[in-house]
């Protein structure tokens, strides 16, 4: 697919210093419209990186390339030293067969803006279903782990409820538990609080903060919550028009932006 394949030596080579997520020279097109331009980004193990930027800048698209929900046009994405969605053979990228791609996807958890819980399953089933079905985990163990995760996101006792019986904030916390149940190496969050009523945003951010600060989970978070980015993010990445414009520690990017586009965006967001 690609003619720019960086560093083939990386393929499955164990290396203590390698980042958990490594996005290298990624381009992405929708038809003739290029939505990602030569994106380079590394996320270290345990790091929380917040992606911010105006609507249509390609934040969701970039996130979706990390678990191969989108195919990339050029470049490569690595998670824990393994290529995502492709196999390198004779210097060329070959798309993985579906079953293989699915097995790899398990290593990356994703939380969506609209929760996307399975409405026909109880909360416990939502969380334990994929470990049982996809990872062939023992049912009792998977349920026990699901129950403990639900406790962790503050939903102990709601195992038997259906998603429709929960508030938006509770549903999003179930969705976080559902992703965690697969024991992913990386968690992706795509605007996890944008669909919530303002008074419910805090409870979801609190859970994410707990994961980032005490759980040591590697997280890539698209968010418009600048307070969260400042407090929890190890790094903030500002994107515009499919490019990374600038990145750095939250205090620097949010407090003292260097680029005009970052300044304009932040002044619009922070008002």
């Amino acid at each position: 697919m690609s003619d720019r394949i960086p560093n083939p030596a990386n393929d499955e080579a164990p290396d203590a210093a390698r980042p958990m997520v490594h996005i290298q020279h990624v381009d992405k097109w929708y038809g003739n419209n290029q939505v990602l331009h030569d994106i380079d980004l590394a996320v270290e193990e345990g790091e929380t990186v917040c992606l911010v930027g105006p609507s249509g800048s390609g934040k969701s698209t970039l996130l979706r390339c990390v678990n191969h929900l989108e195919e990339i046009g050029a470049g490569s994405v690595w998670v824990d030293g393994e290529l995502v969605g492709y196999r390198l053979r004779n210097g060329r990228l070959h798309e993985l067969r579906e079953a293989e791609a699915c097995r790899k996807r398990v290593e990356v958890g994703m939380v969506f803006q609209h929760f996307n819980l399975f409405p026909h399953m109880t909360v416990l089933e939502n969380v334990s279903f994929a470990p049982i079905t996809v990872k062939n985990e023992n049912k009792a163990e998977a349920r026990a782990y699901a129950t403990s995760l639900l406790g962790r996101v503050g939903l102990a006792g709601r195992e038997g409820s259906y998603p429709s019986q929960l508030s938006g904030g509770q549903q999003q916390r179930v969705a976080i538990a559902r992703a965690l149940a697969m024991r992913p190496k990386v968690m992706l969050f795509d605007e996890p609080t944008s669909a919530l009523d303002p008074e419910l945003v805090g409870e979801v951010l609190a859970v994410m903060k707990d994961l980032a600060l005490t759980g040591g989970v590697t997280m890539l978070v698209v968010t418009h919550e600048m307070g969260f980015a400042r407090e929890v993010g190890d790094r903030v990445v500002f994107m515009d028009a499919g490019r990374i414009v600038e990145q750095g520690p939250p205090a620097q990017v949010l407090g003292d932006p260097q680029h005009e586009r970052t300044k304009a965006f932040l002044s619009a967001v922070l008002r």
Binding site: R103, F112, Y162, R178
Partner: protein, 269 residues
């Protein structure tokens, strides 16, 4: 006390309707050319019950095959492969277009232009299977084939709209959890689509039951075939049609109750 508005027009119309119903029932019940005793005589006669049995078997077997076929065709319809979805669309076009009675007569007379079914290894003289058509395509097989092929074409559209009613977010969430597309279909999409699909499917079942009467044109051995056979010997055509009608309505009543209970169960969540 509140005095409600009186709907005089509605009341007058109701009275007219009730009078019309009473008049119709009365004229049928007292018509001297019509023998209720004949209806009573044949309602539970062994041959009528046997016909009813075949009607039920034909309907249920056809329905089961049609549902499975409909799911396959609906999934083909939404396939990203142009070729696969076109084949499915063509199937729906053909089998929705042919009048059922034409399809049944065609299948029932397949022996006229196909003498036998032969499966061999191409390029060799080896013949694995060679059976005459008349042994394979009995009237029962032709009936079930016709009803399920035609039924599947209609039901595929119902299943398809059910599948499309499940949002993209559900598929994406399943995909992100590592489910393959076939598992997503089985565990996530179909169970949810069922709620959309079930009510119109119930109507399709009733339609299938009624359509099964058409197999009488190829002597399918169903309720109507039997009723007409008896009428052919005793000339009590209307009475025997009433016998058949009573049974069709009874089956539909029983089925509707089951349908109601099933829908209430799936709607609970």
């Amino acid at each position: 006390m509140v005095v409600p508005v009186r709907h005089y027009g509605r009341m007058i119309f109701a009275v007219i309707v009730v009078l019309a119903v009473i008049g119709t029932v009365y004229s049928i019940a007292t018509n001297p050319n019509f023998e209720w005793s004949v209806v009573a005589e044949f309602l539970f006669s062994p041959s009528i019950l046997r016909g009813l049995g075949s009607t039920l078997v034909i309907t249920i077997v056809s329905m089961a095959i049609a549902v499975v076929l409909a799911v396959v065709i609906a999934v083909m319809r939404i396939s990203p492969s142009r070729i696969i979805s076109s084949v499915a669309a063509f199937y729906v076009f053909v089998f929705r277009g042919i009048p059922l009675i034409v399809l049944l007569i065609l299948l029932g007379n397949l022996g006229l232009f196909l003498k036998s079914i032969t499966i061999g290894i191409p390029g060799t003289q080896v013949v694995l299977i060679d059976v005459p058509i008349s042994e394979v395509i009995t009237p029962f097989v032709a009936s079930v084939a016709g009803l399920s092929l035609a039924g599947a074409a209609y039901m595929a559209e119902i299943v398809r709209s059910g599948l499309l009613a499940i949002g993209r977010g559900q598929r994406e969430a399943a995909k992100a959890l590592g489910l393959t597309s076939s598992r997503t279909l089985r565990f996530i999409v179909l169970p949810q689509a069922l709620r959309v699909i079930l009510p119109p499917m119930g109507n399709e079942f009733i339609g299938m039951l009624k359509a099964s009467a058409i197999v009488s044109v190829i002597a399918g051995g169903d309720l109507l075939t039997v009723a007409q056979g008896i009428a052919g010997t005793n000339y009590r055509t209307i009475e025997l049609l009433i016998v058949a009608t009573i049974w069709y309505l009874l089956v539909i009543i029983v089925f509707s109750i089951g349908q109601y209970l099933l829908e209430r169960r799936t709607a609970e969540k």
